[in-house]
């Protein structure tokens, strides 16, 4: 049931990074342990095509089942949904605020039609 959230810095208090592929960090929350792990996604910063795919690989490798981010592009969308990972987008504020918003049901799940934002 792990949850991945895109972050600008490696901390739950960090601001959410609205971009999936190019977010410098992925914060992974384990609800069983109630613990956080920071995953370095800096390779994605320099990639352009395939940034989302690389990030998706990391999310899958961490066995996260949910992703929370700002915007996501079509390749990342396809990658994550194929892996069975649910995507919630439009997240704002800090990573922990975004987690709370998700738990409150305040975030929208992404569909194929709105997965166009990942420049």
């Amino acid at each position: 049931m792990k949850i991945a959230i895109t972050a600008q810095n490696p901390s739950p208090e960090s601001a959410v990074d609205p971009r999936f592929g190019r977010a410098p960090w992925l914060m992974i929350y384990d609800p069983n342990e109630e613990s956080w792990q920071a995953i370095d996604n800096s390779k994605g910063l320099n990639a352009a095509h395939g940034a989302g795919i690389q990030a998706a690989q990391k999310v899958a490798d961490q066995q996260a089942e949910t992703l929370i981010t700002g915007a996501i592009g079509p390749k990342a969308y396809r990658s994550l949904t194929t892996a069975g990972i649910r995507i919630y987008h439009g997240a704002k504020g800090s990573v922990s605020e975004a987690l709370q918003a998700y738990r409150d049901g305040a975030l929208r799940e992404a569909s194929a039609d709105d997965a166009t934002g990942g420049v």
Partner: protein, 302 residues
């Protein structure tokens, strides 16, 4: 914050001249030159480079001649005709090399190095019309799409940091990867076309591309008076596809004169094509709902 991309389909229709004029007319914009293959915008906007950065789009393979036994494995495996055998030693043609890594991985002697290459440079600059992000791709380099995406991202970041309303993107001709990379996710695409059969044909291709990616497209006919009947045909084509024709710019030698004097057309004069460009700009601002502040004429450069 809105992103406007100016493309042409067919080359030489005047998209860079229009982008430059828009940069002069816009009050609060970041300019991004995404025509990385043959960048010209800097010739008119005269950016002062504040920082330069290397761009690496991929890796290059190089043979270490002393380790090469001439077995020819690399040559057999290379799909891009990038391996040349000279006097029994393999050499990689860096222009043909697509950076796939196959030769390096399968060389039995581990004689081929495979490391990130610097394919170009990108720059953050200042112009008298605001900040500019631009780049120079190395000769015969691939990955213009990657560099374009990088420029767009940098421009977006800059716009956020400086609270800019608008990102003006000068795109490339054609419909391939650099154009796709400059268009996808933009708020509005403006295609500059010309009243010729070629221009008409290429506009159709561009319209298909915009439709494919779901990006809103508007049209402007440049040098329209060179062939009013084909201009009319293009307008009909646009209407049939529900594409707004935002303006017509007349043929005017002053545009080239302005270019020679390193000015945008709206800084060179008020009349003729300059007036048409201003009308086009008003229409674009309306479509994008961007504020125009006090719409004054652009101040001529001294």
């Amino acid at each position: 914050m809105k992103e406007l991309v100016i493309i042409s389909g067919k080359g030489g229709t005047g998209k860079t001249s229009v982008t430059a004029a828009f940069a002069a007319l816009a009050e609060n914009a970041v300019v991004a030159d995404c025509d990385v293959d043959a960048a010209d915008l800097h010739l008119v906007l005269e950016p002062q480079v504040l920082s330069r950065h290397d761009f690496s789009g991929g890796s290059d393979a190089t043979v270490r001649p002393e380790k090469c036994t001439g077995c020819g494995t690399c040559m057999r495996l290379c799909r891009f005709d990038a391996v040349i055998m000279k006097q029994g030693i393999a050499r990689i043609d860096t222009i043909a090399c697509e950076g796939c890594g196959v030769c390096s991985h399968f060389c039995p002697e581990q004689a081929i190095d495979f490391s990130p290459a610097v394919n170009g440079q990108w720059f953050l600059s200042a112009t008298c019309h605001g900040p500019m992000v631009h780049a120079r791709l190395g000769i015969a380099q691939e990955n213009s799409g990657k560099l374009v995406s990088l420029i767009r991202n940098q421009a977006k970041q800059l716009a956020k940091e400086e609270n800019r309303d608008l990102i003006l993107i000068d795109g490339s001709p054609g419909i391939g990867c650099p154009v796709i990379a400059s268009m996808t996710g933009a708020d509005q695409v403006l295609a500059i076309t010309e009243p010729t059969m070629s221009g008409r044909h290429d506009l159709e291709r561009v319209a298909d591309l915009a439709e494919h990616f779901g990006t809103p497209l508007a049209v402007c006919i440049n040098k329209w008076d060179l062939n009013p009947s084909i201009s009319k045909l293009i307008e009909n084509d646009a209407r049939q596809r529900n594409l707004p024709v935002l303006g017509h710019i007349r043929y005017d030698r002053t545009v080239t004169e302005a270019q020679i004097r390193r000015r945008t057309i709206v800084e060179q004069t008020d009349a003729g094509a300059a007036a048409d460009v201003k009308n086009l700009w008003q229409a674009v601002c309306g479509l994008l709902s961007i504020p125009q502040y006090n719409q004054q004429d652009a101040v001529p450069k001294s």
